[in-house]
């Protein structure tokens, strides 16, 4: 099976804010314009557009893909919208990747947008629909239940404390203070701040959670022969993987995300990576809650089961450490507009691997990065590996 090489050549994003005046269309357009300007391309150069966005209910617009298409630059172009819950942000670049790797297109625009603030009064209520309508919704569950239940099981299985986990929130929010688009960057936050914040659903406190956010991110992907003309620093997509576990979430082991492992293995094999812990220089796992970063590091085989908190405690995962994790500040620091959050991580790797991340730059000329997202009813894992 011959696949062409594909590179990311441009990226752009809006600020991630709690509520934006812009409509979803305008947010998408702002991100697209920046992405095109970053590699000096115009809409005439773009051959196809892939857009990712999460449930229509958030923006309150049915068939959101069509609604956002003009802002995504898709007028009279081949266009596809994908949605796999929170995994969308890392899935939509995979979709654009195979648009180009297959030979069908040479240049593709990737867009991810979310306007959660439209859901009134609070976007969390929309998540009621994630539960089974006959066997679970009558119990009036809320999204916090799922995370709290999973976090508790993870803590119990490996004997991890809330303080161990809170370190992740502290690391990411401090990292985010250097991100110009961040909503919750905080240079001075401490573990005590996190542990003393309001208890929402024990063991989840307010500062363990990423906020409802509006935002959009866009990337330009190009085939090898085009990429080399546009930039002397293309960032290649070396591996992709995605996997889905059962929707019957009460029928599986909540302490270990095996669907992330399956997605990661698919990506590692494609990228020819035999020892991920040595060969991956930057990791951007999905961190809507602080324990998820640890959970996912284990699923990505970058830490032994139950051992991820030790890596954080030892400073391995800080920006100056041996394996920086979420140097961007992640969802906890920058914000969580569901689909755009995952694509933000890909944009971050793009800037990091080119040495353009400014104050967030990981030292030492990192060559390879991995971004991962997760979503639906805690069952989808999507992974992309990028390298110079």
């Amino acid at each position: 099976m011959s696949k062409r090489k594909v590179a990311v050549v441009g990226a752009g994003m809006t600020r991630f804010v709690r509520r934006a005046q812009e409509t979803g269309k305008e947010l998408s357009w702002q991100a697209v314009r920046m992405a095109l300007e970053s590699c000096e391309m115009t809409m005439d150069d773009i051959e196809a557009v892939c857009l990712g966005t999460a449930p229509d209910a958030f923006d309150g617009v049915h068939m959101k893909g069509e609604y956002l298409s003009d802002g995504a630059g898709a007028w009279r172009k081949p266009y596809m919208r994908s949605y796999v819950g929170g995994g969308t942000g890392v899935f939509v670049p995979i979709q654009a990747w195979y648009h180009i790797a297959s030979g069908l297109f040479d240049v593709c625009l990737v867009v991810a947008e979310e306007k959660m603030s439209s859901y009134y009064p609070h976007a969390q209520a929309a998540f009621l629909t994630i539960f089974d309508h006959t066997t679970e919704r009558p119990l009036k569950p809320n999204l916090l239940w799922i995370f709290a239940l999973e976090m508790n099981r993870y803590m119990h299985t490996y004997g991890i404390s809330k303080a161990d986990i809170a370190q992740v929130a502290v690391k990411n929010k401090r990292n985010a203070a250097d991100h110009p688009c961040a909503l919750l960057g905080d240079k001075n936050i401490t573990v005590e701040d996190v542990l003393n914040s309001e208890v929402l659903a024990w063991p989840v406190n307010r500062l363990d959670v990423s906020p409802v956010t509006d935002g959009a991110v866009a990337l330009v992907l190009a085939a090898e022969h085009v990429a080399k003309r546009i930039t002397d620093k293309p960032v290649w997509i070396e591996g992709v993987g995605w996997s889905l576990d059962t929707a019957h979430w009460t029928n599986r082991d909540l302490a270990y995300p095996r669907y992330v492992e399956y997605a990661a293995r698919m990506a590692y094999e494609m990228a020819g990576i035999k020892e991920p812990r040595k060969e991956i220089h930057i990791v951007e796992p999905y961190d809507p809650f602080d324990y998820k970063e640890l959970h996912h590091l284990e699923g990505l085989l970058l830490a032994d089961r139950g051992q991820a908190p030790q890596l954080v405690a030892d400073g391995v995962t800080s920006r100056n450490g041996d394996m920086p994790v979420c140097p961007s500040g992640g969802l906890l620091g920058v914000g969580n507009p569901i689909a755009a959050a995952g694509l933000m991580k890909i944009a971050e790797l793009f800037w990091q691997l080119r040495g353009e991340a400014g104050a967030r730059q990981v030292p030492g000329h990192p060559k390879r990065g991995l971004a991962q997202a997760w979503g639906d009813l805690m069952q989808v894992g999507t992974v992309v590996i990028m390298g110079r």
């Binding site: 509520r19 934006a20 005046q21 812009e22 409509t23 269309k25 305008e26 357009w29 697209v32 314009r33 095109l36 115009t42 809409m43 209910a57 923006d59 309150g60 003009d70 802002g71 630059g73 007028w75 603030s117 439209s118 859901y119 009134y120 009064p121 209520a125 929309a126 009621l128 629909t129 309508h133 006959t134 919704r137």
Partner: protein, 154 residues
């Protein structure tokens, strides 16, 4: 009982609803468009000099070339009917006592969907000129309903 047999005592359907309430902002262009309707009784469009296209309702960017649109134009309050229909039932299927006339009215290179009144339905035709009738300024809220309806022009 075989796997495929339905249990006669099982509840056949589960009733429920999906709660969705939204509060929309109108966006950068939308806000200015509706402010003009509310405060000045004017309908505005934005013009793209690259594509020679005037968007109504006003848009922040041109969807054809993605340029930012800073050229705001008053497109007037008179337009021609591009197409129309007569509604005999409400959207929930209940009957109407009298039919409602709804049309797409060309303004700039875009237009608005709105009601047509003060005319007999037999006299309406595609190409007919109609004019916006605004509510009194005190009643306007920054909504498409600040225009009560369109009527024949002149």
């Amino acid at each position: 009982m075989t796997l495929l047999e339905r249990d006669p005592h099982a509840p056949p359907t589960w009733q429920g609803s999906v709660p969705v309430t939204n509060r929309y902002t109108f966006g950068l262009a939308g806000d200015r468009f509706f402010r003009a309707i509310k405060e000045q009784g004017r309908i505005l469009g934005t013009h793209c000099n690259n594509c020679m296209h005037t968007y109504v309702p006003a848009a922040t960017f041109c969807e054809r070339c993605l340029n930012q649109l800073d050229d705001w134009i008053d497109v007037g309050t008179v337009g021609e009917i591009v197409t129309y229909t007569l509604l005999s039932v409400n959207y929930d299927g209940s009957s109407r006592t009298s039919p409602e006339l709804v049309a797409f009215i060309r303004l700039g290179d875009g237009g608005l969907i709105h009601r047509i009144e003060e005319v007999n339905s037999e006299h309406v035709f595609i190409g007919m000129q109609v004019e916006a009738v605004f509510r009194p300024p005190a009643e306007r809220q920054g909504s498409i309903l600040d225009i009560a309806y369109f009527k024949p022009y002149p």
